[in-house]
Amino acid sequence: MISRDQVLHVARLARLRIEEEEIDRISRELSSVLDHIEKISELDLDGVPPTSHVIHVENILRPDDPRPSWPAERVLEPAPDPAGGGFRVPTPGQ
């Protein structure tokens, strides 16, 4: 069972604001999924290498040649609050 404290801890790590009335529901839902997932703890996986990329390929590198990039004003077009050639944000906090 995922506790209320764990829900709040994980939500903080994920930068998600959770309302008080959501905590129990989230705890219940996560616990139910994790109970199912925990079946893999019964498998003997000693010595089995992990797979992070399934097709075996070597790194593909391009020559490190400088190329033109988009002008700053173009990159700022979709920004919610562009200012002075950058992304404006509020203070990181007191």
């Binding site: 939500a11 959770i18 989230i26 996560l30 994790l34 996986l45 979709p78 990181p92």
Partner: protein, 484 residues
């Protein structure tokens, strides 16, 4: 425009256009008009192109317009990935897949609805409304490429592209009675696809025929300098032509077969009948084992959320999308994300963050990656015994809207038969094999579509499509039967 033109496959329409018997602009407006008249019944489209593109002569895809899942970035055209956190977002560039198809003569017809960030199996997680299944509007089209599948099945698009992370092309294709192909991981560039789980995401076609899927695939594959994981395919994609299955062995894993847990009786019956057709066509049906496949859902629902929790960290209200105002920088992040993400996306971010957090990493993420190795090994062993592994695509026919929204785990089980192939990175196609009633006997009297999944070794797309084509001809399923 006559009804027979509408009912042609996309490949046939392309031939007619290239032969000068059919105008590209006329074809475009026919579909465009149908979307404007009929899509309020489906909810499949989030955006449609206003005008037919200017056509310039010969193009291998014959100017047959394409429906594009809203996961693909399109320059200057809103791309939301089904999420409110990207509402109105206009990307600065176009995804390689869309660009390649447009260059080959398949201009964009519209952008299609989807589960938010491709997380879902019913399209009910979209931030922009549900999509209805054209076979029964009370039912889901599947997901996450639900809009693309419904549009093709309803005759609102000649063909479409979607993306598949754990079944998001194959499962909606199955539920809507059309063809859906997930290619080998790396066959197609992911550049410009809004990332969900980068080690699993793959673009692919949703079409009315296997030949249409092959034709789109031919122009989608290839290495792209913008995606260093893209490889292309070792040989050119051929248009399928095979008429028998002689000399081919089809492996049925009992773990995913007609009597596997959760497979509806009607689905199992269609699956078993399809095996008979394989035998009639000269193919051999053999039993194989995929002992770790039943653990696929567990491994997938650790790995995919873990990757998603990282990929979705970029949606913080700073560089694009709407922003929650007032407060500190932390408030901005937390509120923007709380307001912009839907419940399922939050659930997966939480799940993935938990699985990667200190103290739990090895027990969840580490073990899931080892299970992934075992599943890939299972397939490798199975392909020593057979050419293709077959299973039902989905354990059930299309379920009712709202039926599973309160039970995340029940929703996740919709991917039971498709997730193992995704984890192994191998190509798999779903072709419509017949109709069946759901377990409770509800729904249209004629039944609902059942998909038959065929999976092959990595890079076996040509053989896979050839075998699917032979079986498709024998099954003679009418993929225009649900046209609006």
């Amino acid at each position: 425009m006559t009804a027979d033109v509408l009912r042609m496959s996309a490949a046939e329409a392309a031939e007619r256009v290239l032969a000068g018997d059919l105008g590209a602009a006329e074809l475009f407006s026919t579909y465009s008009d149908r979307i404007h008249q009929l899509d309020d019944r489906l909810g499949a489209f989030l955006w449609t192109a206003d005008e037919p593109p200017t056509q310039d002569g010969d193009a291998p895809l014959g100017h047959v317009p394409l429906a594009v899942k809203d996961l693909f970035c399109t320059e200057g055209v809103a791309t939301t990935a089904g999420s409110r956190i990207l509402e109105g977002h206009r990307p600065l560039y176009t995804a390689t897949a869309v660009r390649r198809l447009a260059a080959a003569g398949a201009p964009m017809l519209g952008k299609t609805n989807m589960d938010e960030f491709a997380m879902g199996s019913s399209n009910e997680n979209s931030g922009y409304g549900v999509v209805h299944n054209p076979w029964d509007p009370e039912r889901v089209p599947g997901g996450s490429s639900g809009g693309s599948a419904a549009a093709v099945a309803a005759g609102l698009a000649p063909w479409a592209i979607g993306t598949d992370t754990g079944g998001s092309i194959r499962q909606p294709a199955s539920l809507c009675g059309i063809v859906g192909l997930k290619p080998t991981y790396g066959a197609i560039s992911r550049y410009g696809m809004v990332a969900f789980a980068s080690s699993l995401d793959q673009c692919g076609p949703l079409t009315r025929t296997v030949s249409d899927a092959a034709l789109l695939l031919r122009h989608l594959v290839g290495h792209d300098p913008c995606d260093s994981t893209s490889l292309g395919l070792p040989e050119e994609v051929r248009l399928p032509s095979r008429t028998d299955l002689k000399g081919l062995r089809f492996g049925v894993p009992h773990e995913l077969g007609s009597r596997a847990e959760g497979v509806e009786t009607g689905v199992g019956e269609v699956f078993d009948r399809t095996l008979d057709r394989i035998t009639e066509l000269g193919g051999e049906v053999v039993q194989v084992g995929l002992p770790h496949a039943p653990h696929g859902i567990s491994a997938y629902y650790v790995i995919a959320p873990a990757e998603a929790s990282s990929n979705l960290a970029r949606y913080d209200g700073v560089r694009y999308g709407p922003r929650a105002r007032n407060g500190t920088l932390l408030d901005l992040y937390e509120r923007t994300r709380a307001e912009g993400f839907g419940d399922e996306v939050k659930r997966r971010i939480m799940l993935g963050t938990f699985a990667l957090s200190a103290g739990y990493y090895e027990a969840y993420y580490g073990r899931a990656q080892r299970v992934r190795t075992k599943i890939a090994d299972d397939f490798e062993a199975a392909f020593d015994e057979c050419d293709f592994v077959v299973s039902p695509t989905s354990p059930t026919v299309a379920f009712k809207l709202g039926e599973r929204t309160g039970d995340p785990l029940a929703m996740y089980m919709a991917d039971y038969c498709t997730v193992p192939m995704s984890l192994a990175g191998i190509p798999a196609v779903s072709i419509p094999a017949g109709l069946a009633r759901p377990g409770d006997g509800s729904g249209p009297p004629g039944g609902l579509p059942v998909g038959f999944q065929i999976a092959g070794p990595a890079f076996s797309e040509n053989g896979l499509l050839d075998a699917s084509f032979a079986l498709e001809q024998a099954l003679a399923f009418d993929t225009t039967a649900a046209f609006l």
